[in-house]
């Protein structure tokens, strides 16, 4: 009796998980596996019309990509965005979290919400706003710089400044997310540690250096890993603000995948780009994770 009921129970459980698993299996797992397969074919607009035009080409898509200057340019731009953008983003998050956590801070809920607001906004919409803030002749940023005596900069039209402008935008848009997580981490640090440090005569800076940062390190490294993974997926910002230009200076790997796949319909090549990006993200975050583990194991 009891066993028959628990086996019925077991059977019912599958009805609970089946719909979600079916969706994830059919619309995520299957496509990921298929992406690997498609990246080994010459799937293009002719194959899209008639599958009999499809040929298996092995690793040719990958080889051709690695020989294309445009791919390396996109990779370089994306790495630029990650290497400069992530530290700036984390720095802003940490700074804001430390200020919000200060006992001296007032109106904390207001400041917290204000600093977090850009996170929930729509990338496309705020990218449109920033395009005007960054305008050369009448934009607010150049106006502000002008009051400091700095000549106007053609932010989105100059290949040297387009990526910095996008990084500035991305930091503004995203820092609030990690700020909230780091703030929670700060609030979990026991007050006694600060008391002890104070009794030992530690200055405010020393307390930050020897109490706050070490205690925050585990959560800081998690946040860093997630942010790196996220920043590698740059797409909407350049799509709206610069369309990858000027001179391809803001073309990201994902933008290249989009153009290859859905503008030129080279779906085989686009899948190869997607896979290379995946391998890259996986590799970098794996190194970060290993580094974090050995750091904290000591």
């Amino acid at each position: 009796m009891a066993s028959s009921r628990s086996s019925g129970h077991r059977y019912v459980a599958w009805w609970f998980v089946a719909p979600a698993l079916l969706v994830i299996g059919v619309f995520f797992v299957l496509p990921v596996v298929a992406a690997l397969a498609i990246s080994l074919t010459d799937f293009d607009i002719y194959a899209l019309a008639d599958l009999s035009n499809l040929r298996i080409v092995g690793f040719r898509n990958y080889v051709e990509l690695l020989q294309r200057p445009l791919f390396w340019q996109a990779l370089g731009n994306t790495l630029y965005f990650v290497v400069v953008g992530v530290p700036l983003s984390l720095g802003a998050s940490l700074g804001a979290a430390l200020l919000l956590n200060s006992k001296l801070a007032r109106f904390r809920p207001f400041f917290r919400t204000a600093l977090f607001a850009p996170v929930v906004t729509t990338v496309v919409a705020v990218a449109v706003i920033w395009r005007y803030l960054l305008a050369t002749r009448y934009g607010w940023l150049n106006y502000a710089l002008g009051t400091l005596g700095i000549a106007p900069v053609d932010w989105l039209g100059d290949p040297h400044f387009a990526m910095p402008a996008i990084i500035l935008f991305a930091v503004w848009k995203n820092f609030g997310y990690n700020m909230i997580i780091l703030l929670a981490g700060l609030q979990n640090i026991p007050e006694e540690l600060y008391e002890a440090a104070r009794i030992d005569g530690a200055s405010a800076f020393e307390r930050l250096r020897f109490v706050t940062l070490p205690m925050l390190a585990p959560i800081l490294s998690i946040v860093a890993i997630l942010t790196v993974a996220g920043y590698f997926q740059l797409f909407a910002e350049p799509y709206v603000m610069t369309q990858g230009g000027p001179l391809q200076s803001t073309l990201s790997v994902l933008y290249l995948m989009y153009e290859e796949g859905f503008k030129w319909w080279n779906l085989g090549s686009a899948s190869a780009v997607a896979f290379l990006l995946f391998i890259l993200i996986f590799g970098v975050t794996a190194v970060q994770t290993r580094f974090a583990r050995t750091e904290f194991a000591r």
Partner: protein, 274 residues
Amino acid sequence: MIVPKPAALVVNGVLASASIVVLFPLLWMLAASFMAPGEASTYPPPLVPAHPTLANYRELFAHAGMGRYLANSVLLAVAATALSLVFNVMAGYAFAKLRFRGREQLFRLMLGALVIPGQVAMVPLFLLLKHMGLVNTYGGVIVPALASIFGIFLVRQYALSIPDELLEAARIDGASEWKIFVAIVVPLLSPIIVTLAVFTLLGTWNDFMWPLIVLSDQNLYTLPVALASLSREHVQDNELMMAGAVLTTLPVLIVFLSLQRYYMQGLMMGAVKG
């Protein structure tokens, strides 16, 4: 022990100026959306409209099809949220509280799959949906959002705290598993359901790349896709674009502000997963 005043002034001063700088683009968007055509592109840039007007909004609805895009966005975000809530809550509860073979392995496998960026799946997903006749339909936009590993994870973590005795007692009383789920589990899970609903709603509303790929008919465009396309046509129309940006961001900001507590809770739980 008297707190030195200058330190407090510095902390609050920096916080206040940072907030102003961060909010400035959003406030200026709102101000510029009420400006007359051309007013925002004068130098020095004006902070507030000289003669506030609703002309930009009228223009957007009358000639740019904004009403249609707004309706599309609302419909898609609400439908995706409602359906995915049903799927994710059921699965999350089962992973926490129902026993079935392979449960732990399956769950670990799903968490492992979180490292795969969604864009890897996009090309084959497009082909699959084309095959199913779902490209360029509302269904095509919603389908990949119907279940999410993150959502299942969120619900599972929360559902773990439901006492087993409560469920056992209901079973002994002869309640079916469905009855238990609907009458006992769902009410207990309501806080996390609200959290997940806010996350999904904001996520689907703000989503850009997938709708951009799967929709080609302008009549089906969501607000972000429509705004991106309009902004390429109307490069010079600052004020019009600002009104479009207001219509796109204001709804999510309102949802966020009214349900902030739930949103922040989900953010914390999500961060713990790493």
